[in-house]
Every structure is written in structure tokens, then in C-alpha cells.
């Protein structure tokens, strides 16, 4: 009896103390973590929309979408966060789009698990800078092993064709959904 009581008391008090301690620590850390995440998203939005000064999340769009404005509250464009399958897992990216959705201002890869040294080149120059001012109509296309000659084409990375194509496919998918949303009046 004594043994059992001791077991229960010790385990319960360890549980309560640890729960209480964690509640205190997480009460301190949670606002900081949330602030970190917010700062990260904010920085990414302004990197893909360099002229933007303010932003506002578009509600009820079904995906993560931000409307970006300059200091006079004029809309400069949109920032779209979208994800899809890459070579060995999910690729998550943010793309800046012009107000009429016809041009990309810049893209940035937020998360990826591609092959180090090969697929991870999608996060670096010169691949990402190819998307600057790229046309999105009728859709983004890619060429392999040669310089692109149309204004809606990019060149895939040697040794990482699938990863490069995945980025293009994710962008096309996200932008076409965005255009559909606009045509249905969801961006007002």
C-alpha cells in the first residue's frame, strides 16, 4: 500500500511540476516564436515585392495570399505562397506577382528537401533570378540545355531537371488557381 501510494505521489508530482514548468516556458517563448515566423513571412513578401511597403492577407482565398501595397496604399501586386511535390519531397515557395497577374516580380524557395548540391540549386542564383519579370501567359515553360528565347521560358538546371520542372509546375498551378479566383471576383 505504502509503495503504491509513493509511486502515485512521485509520478503525479513529477507530472504536475513538469507541466507547470513547460506552461511557464511556453508562455514566454510562444509570442517570440510567433513574432519570428511573422518577421520571416514579412521579409519574404518584401523580397519578392521590392516596391511594397505594406501588405495584407487576402482572406477566404483557399491558400496563402498577400496583397502588397506601396506607401500611397496603391496595390503593387500579390505575394503567393504555394507548395507542391519536388524530386524528393515538398517544395514550398513564395512568388511575387504584378497587379494584373501577368508578370512575376521574383520568387523565393521557402522550404525544400532536394538533393544537396544538385536540386538545392533551385534556391540559388542564377536559377531564381530567371523568374524576374517572367511572363505568366499562357503559362510558364522551360527549356533544357539551351538559352530560353521566349519571355515566358526559363532554363532548367543541369543535373536537377526534375527539381527545376517542379518549381515551374508549382508556379503554374498556383498562378492558374489565382487567376481563376480573380475571374470569380475573389480578389476585390
Amino acid at each position: 500500500m505504502n509503495k503504491v501510494a509513493q509511486m502515485i505521489i512521485v509520478l503525479t508530482s513529477i507530472g504536475i511540476i513538469s507541466g507547470g514548468l513547460l506552461a511557464i516556458v511556453s508562455g514566454w517563448a510562444d509570442p517570440l516564436i510567433a513574432a519570428n515566423q511573422k518577421a520571416e513571412t514579412e521579409a519574404a513578401i518584401f523580397r519578392v515585392q521590392p516596391d511594397g511597403k505594406k501588405y495584407q492577407q487576402v482572406e477566404n482565398s483557399g491558400f496563402e495570399l498577400y496583397k502588397v501595397m506601396n506607401e500611397n496604399n496603391q496595390t503593387t501586386g500579390y505575394a503567393l505562397v504555394y507548395e507542391g511535390n519536388g524530386f524528393s519531397g515538398k517544395i514550398r515557395l513564395i512568388a511575387g506577382l504584378s497587379d494584373d497577374l501577368n508578370n512575376i516580380s521574383a520568387i523565393e524557395i521557402l522550404e525544400q528537401v532536394e538533393t544537396p548540391g544538385l536540386g538545392t540549386k533551385i534556391t540559388e542564383e542564377p536559377f531564381t533570378s530567371q523568374f524576374k519579370n517572367l511572363e505568366t501567359n499562357p503559362k510558364i515553360d522551360w527549356v533544357k540545355g539551351e538559352k530560353p528565347d521566349k519571355s515566358n521560358e526559363i532554363q532548367t538546371i543541369t543535373g536537377a531537371t526534375i527539381s527545376s520542372k517542379a518549381v515551374v509546375a508549382i508556379l503554374n498551378d498556383g498562378i492558374s488557381r489565382l487567376k481563376k479566383l480573380r475571374d470569380n471576383g475573389g480578389l476585390k
Binding site: K3, V10, I14, A29, D30, L32, P116, G117, L118
Partner: protein, 227 residues
């Protein structure tokens, strides 16, 4: 009566003689997973050392009131609490590092080094000794991770702690930062450690034989050979 070990030995046994990674092969999951760079290895090593030291101190101070039947459960809850604290602090203060180490900080809970030291040492010794033991084991663990991470970073991405130290002409070996590189490097390091130990043993053996020869007691040599 158990022979008391000196305090410095309590610390240094974990660094080399009983190094958790190189000699006991414990805690291999985080060792292999996070060591793509020296900084990751160091961060993981320090995080695990912090948890190990705190848990050992606490558990050895309350070792007398924990009933034997529920000791493992108590150890796990205490370890998990410290791990969560480390995880939250890292997320709040070092978001980049926390992203790089990903889910491997929470997985410190099931790192066999930590639970193993509680069961084998902290629950049987006073807080002072438990502290030294934990600090030694943690140091050994951190050194092993740092060495592995350093080798993989230098050969795999030409850098050490992010600073380029290999010439541009050196083409980085991608395999070193791939999962396969972790297995291969650790396998080779373990092999090298074994080679070193074998050599040391042989030299010791030879010096004993030489000593016996000098004092003219050949019959002891035969005894040694049999052993």
C-alpha cells in the same frame, strides 16, 4: 565496498574511454542525421549535453524518493521536460538553427545516451559525481559530432563553420553531405578508432614482453600468450 574513482576520471571517461558515440555506439540517430556541417553538430551536441546534465543533476538529487518500479517513466518525463525547454528556447532565440536541426531536437528524448546515463549512473550516485559524469559524456558526444560534422562539411562543401577553407579547385564531394556520406564517414571513423586501439594494445603487449625478457622471466611470457 566499491572502489572510489577520482573525480577527474569521472569526467574524462566519457570523453574518450567510454565515448558514447565512438566506443559505446549510442545515440547514433542524431549523430548521423544532423552532422552535415560543423555548426549543426556542435549545436546538437550542446543541446544534448544541456539536457543530459540537467536531467542527471535532478535525477541524482531525487534518486532516493523515486520508487524503482516507476523510475523509467519518471526519467522519461523529466528528460522530455528539459528537451521541450531546449526546443522552445531554440525556436524563440535561434530560429535558423532550430530550422536546420528540425525534428531532431525533440528526438533527444529517445537518445539512448541520456536515458542510459540516468539508469546506469545518475540514479546510483550523488549529484556531484552525476554532474561530472554527465558533463564528460556530453563533451564526448559533442566532440564526436563536431568531428563528424567538420569532416563532412570540409569535404562536402569546402567550408568549416561556414568559412571556405578548401581551394576553389577542389571539387566538393557531394556524397559527404548526402545521407550515404554520414554512414560511410562514421563507419570509417569507427574503423580508424579500432585500428588505433589495436595498435596501442599491441605496443603495450610488446613492452610487457620486453620487460619480462629484461628481468629474465620467460615463463611469464608464455602465460601472457595463452591469455
Amino acid at each position: 565496498m566499491k572502489k572510489q574513482v577520482t573525480l577527474s576520471k569521472e569526467f574524462f571517461k566519457g570523453v574518450w574511454d567510454n565515448n558514447p558515440v565512438l566506443k559505446q555506439l549510442l545515440g547514433l540517430c542524431p549523430t548521423l542525421a544532423v552532422t552535415v556541417s560543423a555548426i549543426n553538430g556542435l549545436a546538437m551536441g550542446l543541446a544534448a549535453t544541456f539536457v543530459l546534465v540537467m536531467a542527471s543533476l535532478l535525477i541524482s538529487s531525487i534518486r532516493k524518493i523515486i520508487p524503482a518500479q516507476v523510475r523509467i517513466a519518471s526519467f522519461i518525463v523529466i528528460i522530455a521536460t528539459f528537451v521541450t525547454i531546449v526546443d522552445l528556447v531554440m525556436k524563440a532565440k535561434f530560429p535558423d538553427l532550430s530550422k536546420a536541426l528540425g525534428p531532431f531536437i525533440p528526438l533527444i528524448v529517445v537518445n539512448c545516451v541520456i536515458l542510459g546515463r540516468q539508469e546506469a549512473f545518475a540514479s546510483k550516485n550523488n549529484p556531484g559525481r552525476a554532474f561530472l559524469d554527465a558533463l564528460g559524456m556530453g563533451t564526448g558526444f559533442t566532440i564526436a559530432l563536431l568531428v563528424l560534422g567538420g569532416i563532412r562539411e570540409i569535404i562536402g562543401s569546402r567550408t568549416f563553420f561556414g568559412i571556405q577553407i578548401m581551394p576553389d579547385q577542389f571539387e566538393p564531394w557531394l556524397i559527404m553531405i548526402l545521407p550515404a556520406g554520414a554512414f560511410l564517414t562514421l563507419g570509417l571513423i569507427l574503423g580508424a578508432v579500432n585500428v588505433y586501439i589495436d595498435r596501442k594494445k599491441r605496443l603495450e603487449h610488446e613492452s610487457i614482453i620486453a620487460h619480462y625478457k629484461r628481468v629474465g622471466r620467460e615463463e611469464l611470457i608464455e602465460e601472457l600468450e595463452v591469455k
